[in-house]
């Protein structure tokens, strides 16, 4: 395993200071994918995406082509782009919307054409003030350039793209909550079934919801063909993917890496990637795919960065964010902070999540701050079991959305991997890490 020299599919312009401008975009092949797509039939465009086997980059990893094909039989009304990136330690879409907004716009237009949708909403989290300004400026420029609006590039295809700012709620990353929010309501996830907005989406009409990174891959796929994309990576994990690396590494950042060909060890230690753990410390644990994912230890560091490979090892690649914890990290404190996050962000619809997250947070807090009791470990696991019965992976569902069943991941991992640390906290009445 090593770092491959795969082409940069979504980060090719990031090195330029003016990567967000229309001038730079046009000078580096911008809108060529869209122009090519407009000469093809919509079915042929969708077929290329199918051939690329592009897995959705939002976190669930559902094949984008299959999401689209569900809609081929009946026409789709809306395309909604999910840019509510809020999964802790995930910051790839942040990079894409700020540094290459035109690439996102081009991808969105290609998708709109393939789906024959005339109305697109790009939902960006409200905290991306600069990203919102960059994407709006890109849309304004794209309209002036003839790429958006009526009869784009003289193709006879018209499409309008509306940028919609969110207002700060993690749950709006869940696609049905996002649609509720886009309808001007609280971000409450909708009851399933229907499992996909393809059946009942925005305003009750068939809707496709795709992630920012998924959309940003489309210009390259159309220019170079789905087969060229599928030739990268391995198995079901095709192409490259953005990995957001954070925590205790020398060079945290977003890296575009060929799927499967690279391992977590490469990502964390390779000099051109993470650059290793600073201060001469050792790896204690890492979270492979957002805080909803169970943790991995040093034993699993040689796993490849592939969706199925990580799933088989009992976790998930999720949103593509990797958090590294060195051996001076308190596992109890880390798990407590993650639990506090879920407790704050639970939308409050379902009892197991709303109540359970608060209970867990308070128990974790008292352990970390020195008031833990011996029976607390069993109590934690019992509450976790009530949220996600059996504590299996993937978790059992007791709630409307997957936020609730994601809560036990970090606590379960911390107890399983570092049980002694919990006991020391309880026995010594405080955190040994100070």
């Amino acid at each position: 395993m090593a770092v491959t020299d795969a082409p940069r599919i979504v980060t090719s312009r990031i090195g330029f200071d003016d990567s967000h401008t229309l001038e730079r975009f046009l000078a580096t092949g911008g809108y060529e994918g869209l122009r090519k797509a407009l000469t093809m039939t919509p079915e042929a465009v969708a077929h290329e995406v199918d051939a690329a086997s592009l897995l959705g980059r939002g976190g669930a990893g559902f094949p984008a082509g299959r999401k689209w094909s569900m809609l081929r039989k009946n026409p789709v009304s809306y395309l909604v782009v999910n840019g509510d990136e809020s999964e802790p330690a995930t910051f790839k879409d942040h990079l894409l919307v700020e540094r290459d907004p035109h690439q996102l716009v081009e991808g969105v237009l290609i998708a709109a054409y393939a789906l024959q949708v005339s109305q697109v909403f790009v939902f960006l989290r409200g905290e991306f003030a600069l990203g919102l300004e960059r994407v709006q400026a890109a849309l304004n420029d794209a309209y002036a350039h003839g790429a958006v609006g009526e009869d784009i590039f003289g193709s006879g295809f018209s499409v309008d793209v509306v940028l919609h700012p969110g207002a700060g709620a993690y749950i709006c990353g869940e696609e049905t909550a996002l649609l509720e929010s886009l309808e001007g309501k609280r971000g409450f996830p909708r009851i399933k079934p229907p499992f996909f907005p393809a059946a009942i989406g925005l305003y009750g009409e068939p809707t496709v919801v795709n992630n920012v990174e998924t959309m940003s891959n489309l210009p390259w796929i159309i220019r170079h063909g789905g087969a060229a994309f599928a030739a990268l990576g391995e198995g079901r994990s095709t192409g490259t993917r953005l990995f957001a690396l954070a925590g205790h590494v020398r060079n945290p950042g977003v890296f575009e890496i060929e799927m499967v060909k690279t391992t977590f060890a490469d990502l964390i230690h390779a000099p051109v990637l993470g650059g290793g753990i600073p201060h001469g410390r050792e790896l204690k644990a890492f979270i492979p795919g957002g805080v909803s994912a169970p943790w991995f230890g040093p034993d699993q560091i040689d796993l490849p960065l592939g969706q199925d490979e990580v799933a088989a090892a009992g976790s998930m690649l999720g949103s593509g964010s990797v958090v590294v914890m060195d051996d001076h990290t308190c596992a109890v404190r880390a798990a407590w902070r993650i639990t506090k996050f879920f407790s704050r962000e639970s939308c409050g619809q379902c009892t197991p999540c709303r109540e359970g997250s608060g209970w867990l947070e308070r128990i974790m807090e008292r352990i970390e701050t020195g008031s833990g009791r011996e029976e607390d470990l069993d109590l934690l696991l019992d509450v976790c079991d009530n949220i996600a019965p059996g504590l299996t992976w993937p978790p059992q569902q007791t709630t409307i959305c997957v936020l609730g069943p994601s809560i036990p991941s970090s606590i379960g991992s911390a107890i399983q991997m570092f049980r002694d640390e919990f006991l020391v906290h309880i026995k010594e009445g405080g955190c040994p890490y100070g």
Binding site: A89, E127, F128, V254, R337, F341, R344, C347
Partner: protein, 237 residues
């Protein structure tokens, strides 16, 4: 969500009949609000963007503004409040000119965010959620702000200011108070300074006509493909 808001008089109840004309939002804000409403198939979709607009005018979401928004999108003021109170960025109580958000989520925690937040509380003389006496700074503990390679991450009025140390944090606060960074960081409430160019919406008639033509073409292509397949079958038989 940081604690329930204290009881306030609340927006005036909606009167029967036609909704009242906006009385609190300025003429310019109302004009921009109507432009936003026109972008959506249903007016209510503009509710959250309108709340951002009201915050741009007032710095926070006043009950009078919520009543105006209700009238503009055709819901009750209670529905506006009920929606707004769900979201962290919509402030139904006054905030300072600068909202300083310190992320303490996992990646920032590993980068020393808890210590930074503690320093911020001491140095500003407020607890998390509080506003300094001069009304300049409101301190907030934020969830992940998606800037984890620059931990601990801080935003001012939702503009990233990069990783902060206790020392740089104090300099940042001093700059905010003197207005040294006013160009880059507008006062709280102003979110998107780039406006959508007007008159971009594709006409509905045109879209309907194009969709019909596309559907017909699609059907024709499918028929052609089916006929070709049938032809191949006959040929091979």
């Amino acid at each position: 969500m940081s604690g329930p808001p204290s009881p306030s008089p609340g927006p005036a109840p909606r009167r029967a009949g036609a909704p009242p004309a906006p009385s609190h939002l300025s003429a310019e804000t109302v004009e921009r609000a109507r432009e936003l409403i026109a972008l959506y198939p249903e007016a209510r979709s503009a509710l959250i963007p309108l709340c951002h607009l009201a915050q741009e005018q007032d710095g926070w979401l006043r009950p009078e503004a919520m009543a105006d928004i209700a009238a503009l999108v055709g819901v009750t003021p209670a529905e506006v409040y009920g929606t707004a109170s769900f979201y962290d960025m919509l402030h139904t109580e006054p905030v300072g000119t600068h909202l300083v958000s310190v992320c303490t989520n996992i990646a920032c925690l590993l980068g020393g965010a808890a210590e930074l937040l503690e320093h911020a509380e001491t140095s500003l003389g407020v607890n998390v959620g509080g506003t300094t006496v001069d009304g300049a700074i409101t301190l907030e503990e934020a969830e992940c702000l998606a800037d984890c390679d620059r931990a601990p991450c801080v935003q001012v009025n939702h503009r990233y200011v990069g990783a902060q140390t206790p020392e740089s944090f104090d300099r940042l606060v001093a700059d905010l108070r003197t207005g040294a960074r006013a160009d880059e960081i507008p006062r709280h409430g102003t979110l998107v300074r780039v406006r959508r160019s007007v008159g971009l919406r594709a006409g509905r008639d045109r879209v309907v006509a194009e969709r019909a033509a596309m559907a017909a073409a699609q059907a024709a292509r499918a028929e052609e493909a089916a006929a070709a397949a049938a032809g191949r079958k006959e040929g091979s038989a």
